[in-house]
Subunit: 141 residues, 2 copies
């Protein structure tokens, strides 16, 4: 168990735990700026131990990332019955990588976009900051 | 079944379907701007048929919303076994509402923040735009 914040009873997850959770998920949410306002879209992704790898089609999301590469990426899981759960947040820059380079990564095989389409543009998000938290309601009473 | 986008095989959900999905969920993700960059945090929420209602504590999220009320709010559910799922995105402004007004809403009773703490500030997001999509891989072959 990591550090528990005494004010909110959130357990702050270690970088190692965040990496383990990232490696175990396939769907995350990307927040990016479109005309100065945030948007959120779910993406199919893989975590190669260092960075988040996802792909996208030509379109507004691609244009937005080229203009404003600063993004946030989040994964979570919540149990609504027990009000417990966890989330991991990455803040970083989405940088396009050549398809040949992206597909040379073993992690790329796990990226099968749920939405069909060509999805010819690969991006990596190299984390500048990773944070994770787990709701430990049981610990708080 | 709604309109299917022939390029991506995404079914575009009607506003009524988006409203039904919003009414059935309790956890969503809020994207907001912090120092000009997007962040994502999970929030416990309720949808009263018109707007998303959530609450927060004093802190960086509150300060960020006061400075930049333009937010995005997202809910989703994905089945990783079958690569199917859906998501709903709201783009709007987060406006603080007095606690007495917020708690007069029947929907407010459903907002029990998973993280403990005082959470004395209530916000409403009145949607300027709602969009939803469902991945219909089966339809795409």
């Amino acid at each position: 168990m990591g550090v528990i914040d005494g004010r909110t009873w959130l357990e702050l997850l270690s970088p190692q735990e965040c990496g383990r959770l990232l490696a175990g998920e396939r769907f995350g949410r990307l927040a990016y700026l479109l005309e100065g306002r945030p948007e959120i879209l779910p993406v199919n992704f893989a975590f190669d131990g260092t960075a988040v790898l996802f792909r996208t089609d030509t379109g507004t999301k691609l244009e937005a990332l080229e203009t404003h590469p600063e993004v946030a990426f989040e994964i979570d899981a919540f149990d609504r019955e027990h009000d417990t759960g966890w989330s991991v947040l990455i803040v970083g820059r989405a940088v396009e990588v050549p398809m040949s380079e992206a597909e040379a990564s073993p992690a790329a095989a796990a990226v099968r976009p749920a939405a069909l389409g060509d999805k010819q543009h690969w991006f990596r998000i190299v984390p500048e900051r990773i944070s994770g938290r787990r709701v430990v309601r049981g610990a708080g009473g």
